[in-house]
Symmetry: C2
Subunit: 135 residues, 2 copies
């Protein structure tokens, strides 16, 4: 009954600073494209399950239950890297996303535009910087 491929955390759950609901928010980012996919929340059980099964597991605040993403949709998020912020109250998860992250069918949950400044799409410097970074 000992899981063979359990992932080891360098930081204990008790070192996390929880929000007023007793959870820690998790920013989920595609490890290949760097796209931000969603924000979800973990309690201790969700954190430990994520480490033991290698698939992102959250606490669903709407359904009030543990939720290993992809269990019903197949849209699993395999954990690649977990990072903690400077004041220990937010996790950044880099994941390998199977299919799409959003239940609407969008790749990312962030598809509603609130506001966008003009003229930032055409940025030749950005292209050069990115090519340079890759080479």
């Amino acid at each position: 009954n000992i899981p063979m491929n359990i992932l080891k955390s360098k930081i204990a759950w008790t070192d996390f600073k929880l929000n007023s609901d007793g959870m820690i928010p998790v920013i989920v980012q595609d490890y290949k494209t760097d796209e931000v996919l969603m924000l979800a929340y973990m309690n201790e059980e969700a954190f430990q399950k994520t480490l033991s099964c290698g698939k992102m597991t959250y606490w669903s605040r709407s359904r009030n239950e543990l939720w290993t993403k992809g269990d019903t949709s197949g849209h699993v998020q395999y954990v690649k890297e977990l990072l903690l912020d400077c004041d220990n109250d937010t996790i950044l998860a880099k994941v390998s996303q199977v299919g799409v992250a959003c239940h609407t069918g969008n790749k990312t949950c962030f598809f509603q535009e609130i506001m966008k400044k003009e003229g930032q799409t055409a940025n030749p410097l950005k292209v050069f910087e990115e090519v340079y970074k890759v080479i």
Copy 2:
């Protein structure tokens, strides 16, 4: 006294779903590098101030005050784009970061490693995909 360059929101504050503290979490991402910089929180005043001054403004939960990032440090975050997620309870802000985002001097607040899977840094496919994307 009319601000000439006020940014217009396509979505009203009242359409946001607030957390139990009456705020909305904001994921802050560098619009050029796609690096996730920090997570902060906005109340309505912070949201409106962000739009009116063009600089990311949050509600500081520790100091209990409105906080236009960079006012004391100079590390301003100019807002480029604001996106809302599918269930209206999280904002993704793409920003132009002056200097560094973290008070520790790190570029991003996410510099503490919780866990990292082996073998994901050397990914030749990723390099090709990125070069292709840029070209």
